[in-house]
């Protein structure tokens, strides 16, 4: 079924980087034209294309409300969430969509995120209590609003990977642990209920840990949730330096 476009409708040109591993040697750009309304998101434009123009276009999405973190892609070379970026901010200019930079392309706009997920796992993204984990019958862990505030911002991450595709250091060397994983380390290390700092600092202290960062700062600009990974990284650099000094005096 194809929807007929009435001539009065405003239109917008969209270019998509296509890649089918079964048949294409390398990715190529394909043009589409869609009807334009002011309330449309990039994700909705993609859904229109899939429903009416070309059902083979692949892309990821789920929540449509900037919560699941699955719809990341490059919009005119800038990492964005498809569901949070609106056509009206680009209209009437052509929009070019590409799979998230710095990740391998699985197919069309879908990328391979394994490396990113492995890094998030590696940093032990869970509370490591000081003593034996206590049963709920003994009461919950208490925390003051101030203690919460110390890490709250860093807990807002939705694991979308935009910061990795904004980071030239990750692009240059993907052994670098990267912005979101470091922000997540800050999130747990700064939590008053956690006692796992020593374990996570081993990751931070490496060359490819916090020291892989040269403070480009673009990660914090593209982050759709205001996590500010660059700030988390700066704080961790200070922590790592303290750790280094302490390590010198007691081996």
């Amino acid at each position: 079924m194809s929807k007929k476009l009435t001539p009065s409708e405003k239109r917008l040109e969209i270019e998509i980087l296509r890649y089918h591993p079964e048949q294409d040697e390398e990715p190529y750009l394909q043009q589409f034209e869609i009807p334009y309304t002011t309330d449309m998101t990039i994700l909705e434009a993609l859904q229109f294309i899939k429903d009416h123009l070309d059902s083979t276009v692949s892309f990821r999405w789920s929540c449509r409300m900037a919560i699941c973190g699955s719809c990341g892609l490059m919009v005119n070379g800038v990492p964005k969430l498809g569901c949070k970026a609106f056509l009206r901010d680009y209209y009437p200019n052509k929009i070019t969509l590409e799979a998230l930079a710095n990740f391998p392309i699985e197919r069309d706009l879908v990328v391979v995120m394994d490396d990113f997920i492995n890094k998030l796992e590696e940093i032990k993204p869970y509370l490591i209590p000081e003593k034996e984990p206590q049963f709920l019958t003994k009461g919950t862990y208490q925390q003051t609003p101030e203690q919460l505030e110390k890490f709250k911002q860093y807990s807002m991450c939705i694991n979308c990977g935009l910061c990795y595709s904004a980071c030239p250091q990750y692009a240059l060397d993907n052994k670098f642990i990267g912005p979101a994983a470091l922000a997540l380390i800050a999130r747990y290390n700064r939590d008053s209920r956690d006692a796992g700092s020593a374990e996570r600092m081993k990751i931070v202290n490496q060359e490819v840990g916090v020291w892989g960062c040269t403070f480009v700062g673009y990660c914090s600009v593209v982050c759709p949730k205001g996590v500010d990974p660059a700030a988390a990284i700066q704080l961790l650099k200070v922590e790592s330096s303290k750790d280094y000094l302490i390590g010198m005096f007691k081996p």
């Binding site: 591993p21 391998p104 673009y218 914090s220 700030a231």
Partner: protein, 129 residues
């Protein structure tokens, strides 16, 4: 059999020219070349100072050469760019909390600029007096 064949996009070595944000970053890093040269000029000045008055005056005179003036103009622009970027990123490294809230970014940046003006006037004053 799996048809998977993930495609890796190459990073071209001019990646920093492709986005204004990256270009500004490289410009910031590039400021270090001019500041290095300026430090070397000062180091040379110390060397001439150690050689006596005639040598030192020759160094002072060399600074009047049009090329030297041109270099210092460019170096000043880069040094200022370094200061601006340094101050604007400073709040990210400050972990100061007042009454359960992180210190406001603008206040930190403003403090840096006030200190900058203060230091500059202080230096001017020392030289003139």
């Amino acid at each position: 059999m799996s048809k998977r064949r993930p495609y890796n996009r190459e990073l071209s070595s001019d990646w920093w020219l492709k986005d204004i944000f990256y270009s500004q970053y490289m410009l910031r890093e590039g400021s270090s070349i001019f500041i290095t040269l300026y430090s070397l000029i000062l180091a040379w000045g110390v060397f001439r100072l150690s050689q006596g008055e005639v040598a030192f005056n020759a160094w002072m005179e060399a600074l009047q050469h049009p090329l030297s003036i041109l270099f210092h103009l460019i170096a000043l622009a880069f040094a200022l760019y370094h200061s601006i970027t340094w101050f604007s990123l400073a709040p990210k490294a400050v972990d100061l909390w007042i009454k359960g809230k992180r210190l406001n970014e603008k206040i930190i940046i403003l403090t840096h600029y006030i200190a900058f003006v203060f230091v500059s006037i202080f230096c001017l004053f020392i030289i003139i007096s």
